[in-house]
Amino acid sequence: MNQPLTPLPMVQRRPETPSQTGGPYVHIGLAPQQAGFDIFENNFGNVLVTDDTRGERITLEGRVFDGSGTPVRDVLIEIWQANADGKYAHPGDNQDKDVDPSFRGWGRTGGDFDTGVYTFETIKPGAVPGNNGRTQAPHVLMVLFARGINVGLHTRLYFDDETDANAADPLLSSIEWEVRRDTLIAKRSERDGKPVYTLDIRLQDTPDGGRETVFLDI
């Protein structure tokens, strides 16, 4: 007997490869000099700028804390950001703005093995478009990998001297719990005449009263 003419099953999506922790020795692969040896001619690190890069030089720094308030000293952090004009160095950004040839927008670093402090030397990004004609406040995307973290944790860093832009930012203003929004906003200070933005990240609430950082399912 003939089979009824129903469509063949649709080709299904393959499941994404499951994540696993980066483990305590993530530096071997992603920051071998920090692991203690020199192997590649060209290393990818935490300095995103050269002399030619356009924009205001800034330092981003902070620490990552676990639920006991102890710094996560084996964390590996990467950042991704637009240039000073708010343009990403990638063909998927179709804005009519120039890419800065001396700014890739990506950096990575490990927390210091003694103090847990992370540092990036970069520029302050310009505002980038959001969806539906809205504008996003200047921000830096961050992702955290470490022993004990099964799936990389995504978050964003915003700037505390961008009060109006932050108030209008689609993502920040979509966080229903207003008390949590501050966990994404870095504080500006000056050191040796250079601007430094500090953002501590808390994987859970800490005993000193620190609030858990907002993490994103991007």
Binding site: P15, F40, W80, V128, N131
Partner: protein, 243 residues
């Protein structure tokens, strides 16, 4: 850029968390104090999440994907010579071109070249570094050669041993695809006992991390081959712009 009138840079299909480990997995003890207690927040993709850094071939060295030679100081490393290869595709089967694949691992005895590794009973191999990197070609294909890593004891419990594994980091075409994972080896009995592998909720997803012996691609009298394919998030087609 467009493919037959549709945007090639649409939003990513949302991550299916049932296919991944949850953050809190008490069997893997370190996760207890390092897992958020709040739920993740899901914003819509913007240009920020749909783009990613571009790594170019001229930034990489000729031996960067050859772990047998890239740290050899006057001799070859000791251990089982293997070739790892496979394809990086997205959920819809499209090749991910130019993906930046990085790999790191212990040596044949299970010892990592890392200043914090405490497994000093197994010695460092002076001719083995343990890391490599490469870009996928236009078919999403990657390959590297290395020494098969040994199992490794760790402090999760007093007699916990990791199966032989190679850590992988993949940077695809969008920040939302950023992935770190581990590949295991076919037939290793330690996989069943591993609390880290067991953080993955389904057995099929654990199986997807097991590199398969690929005897047809063995290099005779030289190296065995293992096949390990990787799937990243897929992009939804944007047939009409939002307007």
């Amino acid at each position: 850029m467009s493919i037959a009138g549709r945007s090639a840079y649409g939003e990513f299909v949302e991550r299916d968390h049932t296919q991944h480990p949850p953050a809190l997995t008490p069997g893997y003890r370190t996760s207890v104090l390092r897992s958020p207690r709040n739920a993740l927040i899901s914003p819509r993709n913007t240009v920020s999440e749909k783009t990613a850094p571009l790594i170019t071939a001229r930034e990489l060295g000729e031996l960067d994907n050859d772990l047998i030679l890239n740290f050899a100081h006057g001799g070859l490393p000791i251990g089982e010579r293997i070739i790892m290869h496979g394809y990086v595709r997205d959920e819809f089967g499209n090749p991910v071109k130019g993906a930046f694949v990085e790999a790191w691992q212990a040596n044949a005895g299970g010892r990592y070249r890392h200043k914090k590794d405490s497994y000093h009973l197994a010695p460092i191999d002076p001719n083995f570094g343990g890391c490599g990197r490469m870009l996928t070609d236009d078919n999403g294909y990657y390959f590297f050669r290395t020494i098969k890593p040994g199992p490794y004891p760790w402090g999760n419990s007093t007699n916990a041993w990791r199966p032989a594994h190679i850590h992988f980091s993949i940077m695809g075409d969008g920040w939302a695809q950023r992935l770190i994972t581990q590949s295991y080896f076919e037939g290793d009995p330690l996989i069943e006992q591993c609390p880290i592998a067991a953080t993955i909720p389904s057995r099929d997803q654990v199986r997807s991390l097991i590199a398969q012996a690929d005897t047809a691609n063995d290099a005779p009298f030289d190296a065995r081959a293992y096949r390990f394919d990787i799937t990243l998030r897929g992009r939804r087609a944007t047939f009409f712009e939002n307007a």
